[in-house]
Structure formats: C-alpha cells, structure tokens
Symmetry: C2
Subunit: 140 residues, 2 copies
C-alpha cells in the first residue's frame, strides 16, 4: 500500500509515539499504573519533596489536572503530601510508593529495550539524541 505519509517525520513521530504509549500502558496495566503515574513517581523519586506545581511544569501537566491526579496517587498510598508553605505542597514517595516504583521501573526498562531493539544497532546510539532534538529541549 502506497502510504504517502511515511515520508513525513511528523506523521511517523506521532504514529510511533501512539504505538509505544499503548504498549507501555498495556505493560503497566497489571500494576494498575498508567504511563503518567510512573513518570510522576520517577520524578518524585529523583527530586524528593518537589513541589506539586513544579512537578506539573516539568511533566507538562496543567495545575487543574494535577489536583485530581495527585489526589489519586495519594489516596492509593504511594505518595504523600507535605505542606511546605501555606500554599505549596511537597511530594514524596511512601515506602509503598518506592516498592511499586521499583516494580514499575522493571516494566519500563523492558519497554525501553523492546523499543530500541526495533532500531538497527548502528542507529541505536542516535535514537535519544534525535528524539531530544525533535523535542527541542534546548534550542528555540
């Protein structure tokens, strides 16, 4: 089938992302986690006590959506909130959160391995640099 879109980086980027995301979410389903949950847990682990609003900025989650999202994780007992200010909330992992995260990390690692295995060995070292460049974390 002649697909005229496969020459468009933007299109292939979107399709690749959609597939990878679906696969990851499927892998995480047994842990009752979604990709965003794991991202949050990993961020909090890496920056313990990070502010809720700050975490939202890093992960690009709106303040409005942060509230129920964090509340769910807290209700589940994997993170806890600590008042830092009378407005800011610091986030930390609970013992349970750390245990869950360590399981999730294995799933993520397997997912990453699957992704990279699809790329020819010679191209593999360029995957992250190219994705970072496309994401445009540095330039304007």
């Amino acid at each position: 089938m002649k697909d005229p879109l496969v020459n468009l980086a933007g299109y292939v980027l979107r399709r690749a992302s959609a597939v990878a995301l679906a696969e990851l979410n499927q892998r995480l389903a047994p842990l009752n986690l979604r990709h965003a949950d794991v991202a949050m847990l990993m961020l909090i682990e890496s920056v313990p006590g990070i502010t809720q609003s700050h975490a939202g900025r890093v992960l690009d989650i709106q303040r409005a959506n942060m509230a129920p999202f964090v509340a769910r994780l807290e209700a589940r007992g994997v993170i806890e909130r600590r008042q830092v200010d009378r407005r800011s909330q610091a986030l930390d992992l609970t013992r349970r959160g750390r245990a869950l995260l360590s399981r999730a990390r294995r799933v993520v690692a397997a997912h990453e391995a699957t992704l990279l295995k699809r790329v020819p060995v010679k191209l593999r070292p360029m995957v992250l640099p190219i994705l970072m460049a496309l994401w445009n974390r540095d330039a304007a």
Copy 2:
C-alpha cells in the same frame, strides 16, 4: 532541573510527538484543518477512490470514528463519496479539496522543515529511518 525521564526513549518520544502535533495543529488552524484531516486528504489524493474502511485501516482510525470524520469532510465539500458496492464507499477529493490540500501541503512542508531544522545536520538523515523503526512498520 534533574529530569530522570530524559533518558527514556519512550518518554522523549511522547513529549516530542505532543509538541510537534500541537505545533502542526496551530499552523493548520488558519485553514480550519487538523492534522488528521490533512492525513486523510493526502491519503485520498495518493490513492483516489480508496475505500473508507481501507483508509481507516491505513490511518488507524476506527470504523466508528471514521463515519462522523468523513461526514464532516464531505459536508465541507472537500471530499466526495461514491458507492462502489452496496456497502463500500470510495473516497475522492473534490476540486475544492485539491485546492485546500495544496495549501495544506505547504503548511506541512514548513512544519517538517521546522522539525528537521532542530536536528543537527549530521543526524538528519537518520531521523526518518529511526522513527520508522520505532514505529515498527516491518518487524514484529
């Protein structure tokens, strides 16, 4: 800010895709198009008379979602449906659709150029091969 997620290809893939998609949609807004519309128009142009269900499979759009999607494009007068069977619909661009598509194509080209410009020249030739590989169009 130490972001522990930037080493994960899946994460960066998702973020890059989200940014690129948002940018493209913004560029297309003046034409009153979204990225999915353009994908459909380009596909129909490339395979005139393609069946609605077939187009849905190529673009990975569910049959159920295809119906209102195609209806919108038809109501707008950019595509037309032709009965091929008493069940299958063949899709074609109208004159108006071709005109709109040629404008959209310029927007898409500009978007593609912007994306690729972010990638160091030496890595640029690897962008599409890597994205295709991640998308996994061939392997299992």
